[in-house]
Symmetry: C2
Subunit: 194 residues, 2 copies
Amino acid sequence: MLPDSQHAGATAPRERLLHAAGELFYLEGVHIGVDAICKAAGVSKKSMYQLFRSKDTLIAESLTSVGVEFLAALAPTDNDGRSPRERILHVFERQDQMSNSRTFRGCPFVNTATELKQPDHPGTVVARAFKQRMTDFFRTEAIVAGFADPATLAGELTMVFDGASARAVVLAQPLSGAGVAMASAVLSTAVRQT
Amino acid sequence: MLPDSQHAGATAPRERLLHAAGELFYLEGVHIGVDAICKAAGVSKKSMYQLFRSKDTLIAESLTSVGVEFLAALAPTDNDGRSPRERILHVFERQDQMSNSRTFRGCPFVNTATELKQPDHPGTVVARAFKQRMTDFFRTEAIVAGFADPATLAGELTMVFDGASARAVVLAQPLSGAGVAMASAVLSTAVRQT
């Protein structure tokens, strides 16, 4: 899901650290040591602390990079001419595809908040903001579709997304359509404006 | 949600370790050091390794203790005379209540699998088995209720449960009925046998 390290040599230390941190925090968890990240990035620990004040900052900033990529990988193209329903289901179809990967570990935002367990940690704040962007996308599409309660529907679709991630992680199996089918059912039964 | 440490002094080292480990792994994450667990339990590290071969074993065995308590706290009483729908919603009502607690960190099974990131880790295996028990409860009730596809409905209710947990953790807010309302909607629109 996340890009591999092929361009590690060509970029600046800051970018290499963000890339290595984003990848390792996602694959191994935020508790992985900074030594492993610095080694993967080919950057000294001293440089790391000069570039990022603390590991907490590195968690927050690398999640920002990962988050932009993750949402871009899920989202349909702007104005692609499809219906809001199709555009919403696109997100779940992409999640389904991601769950086929051996390196799929679920949603990076939920994982970071779950692992940090500190609501005010800068990493949790970033995670919450990105999760909100996902919910906002659902809400905007639900408004266009004319659903009666776009905010509630968007919250429900977010719960389906996160529940599907948890299913793939706990069962250690691809989703095989489970998330798409449930999102589809939720959309089919949602009440439209009269 | 989890019991406090009030009976730490009275019980055997093994039980004290299981209790401290279950509490600290849930509140702080499975990456907390064994030193902190031994200190909380008032047991030496040497004794810990004599009683539990490894930290991995302690993770798995303490999750078993936590899991039994967690499922008992969620489940309705056997044969309580209520309808399958009411009995299923009881689980979501209890989750909703738990989410009001400052120490709520979501579902211990999903958290453990998310944090370990190793499908074959003994802790993940325990997490998967307990999550399956939750799904089995939903499926059994769905069969009694006469739903057409109890297995799919049970999987959906599990996703609602896990999505609601993620919501509470990411937003760092009580659920305020969001999980109960969605589970209720899923049940209301599920197809019954003809």
